[in-house]
Amino acid sequence: MGNRFTRAMVGLAAALVLSSVAMAQTDQSQAKQGNEARSQWKYYPTDRAVGDGGPAPRRDLTGTWAGPGSGAAVPKGTNAQTPTAPPLTPMGQQLYAMNKPIGKYSPAGTNDPHSRYCDPFGFPQNMTNEIRGMTITTLPNRTFILIQYMNVWREIWTDGRALPTDVASGKDGLDPRYNGYSVGHWDDDYTFVVDTTGLDDSTWATKNGYPHSIDAHVQERYHRDAKNDLTLTITMDDPKLYTKPFFLGEEHFRWIPKQQLDDFTCIPSQVQQYLKEMGDPAGFDPNAPPQRR
C-alpha cells in the first residue's frame, strides 16, 4: 500500500513537472513565432509613428524617414511628382521638347533614360521621384542623405566652404556630377538649408521631363516640424532654361519607429525583361501612327 502510494505520488509529481516543462516550451514557441512574425530586419509600412512625437530636437535631422509613396501615412505634398514649370527660355523649350516622359508616352514611347535603362535620376529628381524613404546622418563637417531607391547617397559639406564656380569651365574645371556639389547650413534651429550646383545635364530635373543645366542652382529647405515630422521644399533657379525660379515641390516625411527601410531599386536586367515582355508590346505613344488592334 505504502509503495503504491509512493509510486502514485512520484507519478503525479513527474506529470506536473513534465506538463510545466511542456507549457514553458509552448510559451517559448509562441514567443518565438511572434518574433518571427515581426522580424526586426523587415520594413513594415503599416508601422507608423504616433502623433508628432513632441517637439523637434534642435539642429538634428538624423534618422530614417518614410517619404511619399512609402505607405507610411505620409501627408500628401504639393507639386513634386509632376510640377508645372515657369515659362521656359528658347533653349529650355528646345530641350524640353526632346524629352518624352513615361507618364505621357508609356514605356513603349518614352525616352526617359531611367525608365528604359535604370540610368540615375540624378539630383534634384532623386529627391522627388520614388523618394519612398531616406536616412540622414552627419559627420562634423558633412551631412549625408542616403536615398533608399537606387541606394544613392548625397554628400553635403557643412564646413563653411562656398559652392564651386568652375564646374565644366575650362580644361581644369570640375566635372559635373549626378548629384552635383552641395553645401549646407542651419537657417534656424529647425531648418537646414542645402544649396547645390554643378549638375550633370544628361539627367532630367523632374519625372515629367523638365530639363536643367549644369549651372542650375537648387535650394532645399528641410524643416523639422516635430520629432516625427519633416517637410522639404525644393526650388531651382536655372536662368538659362527658365525665366523664373522653378518651385519643384513640397514633400513630407515621417519618422520610422524601427528605423528600418525597405529594399527597392531599378535593376537593368529586370527592366529589359519588363520592356521586352510587357512595356513595349503594350505600346502607346500619342505621336505614333495608329496601332493595330
Partner: protein, 142 residues
C-alpha cells in the same frame, strides 16, 4: 476591436499614399479599361517578382480552344506587398481565373485586375484591382 479598426484605417491611409505615386508611374493609357478580359482555367507559367512591375504569365484557351500566352503587369513590389502579395503568391501550374485589362495594341498583354483562386479566394491589383478599374483598396474610381 478598436485596435483592429485603427489598423485598418491606418492601412488604407498607407495604401492611398503608396498608390498615388505608383499610378503615376506608367499610367493606364496603354490599356483598354472599359471591360476586363476574363481568362478562365488559366495556368500560371511564371510569376516574375521583378521591378519596376511584377509580371504574371499564364496560358489560357480562347473561345476557339487555342492556347494563348498572356503576360500582365501589376503594382510594384512594395505596393503589392501592402495588400498581401509575396513572391510566392502565384506558382507555375496554379489553375486560376484571371481578369486583365488588355493592351490597346491588341496583343495578349495587359494590366492585371484580379485573380480568383480555385478555393474562391480573390486577390487584386493595387491600382486597377477594383471591378471598375479603380484602386482595389477603395471604391474610388480611376
Amino acid at each position: 476591436m478598436k485596435m483592429k479598426v485603427l489598423m485598418l484605417v491606418v492601412s488604407i491611409a498607407g495604401l492611398l499614399a503608396i498608390s498615388s505615386s505608383a499610378i503615376a508611374h506608367h499610367g493606364a493609357a496603354a490599356y483598354d479599361m472599359s471591360k476586363p478580359i476574363v481568362l478562365k482555367d488559366a495556368v500560371i507559367t511564371q510569376f516574375a517578382w521583378i521591378n519596376p512591375h511584377p509580371l504574371i504569365k499564364a496560358d489560357s484557351k480562347n473561345e476557339k480552344g487555342n492556347v494563348q500566352h498572356w503576360t500582365m503587369e501589376m503594382g510594384s513590389t512594395p505596393a503589392s506587398q501592402l495588400i498581401g502579395w509575396t513572391r510566392n503568391t502565384l506558382k507555375p501550374g496554379d489553375v486560376v481565373t484571371l481578369y486583365v485589362w488588355q493592351a490597346k495594341s491588341g496583343l495578349t498583354v495587359g494590366r492585371f485586375n484580379k485573380v480568383v483562386f480555385a478555393d474562391g479566394k480573390v486577390m487584386r491589383d493595387t491600382q486597377t484591382g477594383a471591378d471598375n478599374g479603380g484602386r482595389a483598396d477603395t471604391e474610388v474610381g480611376r
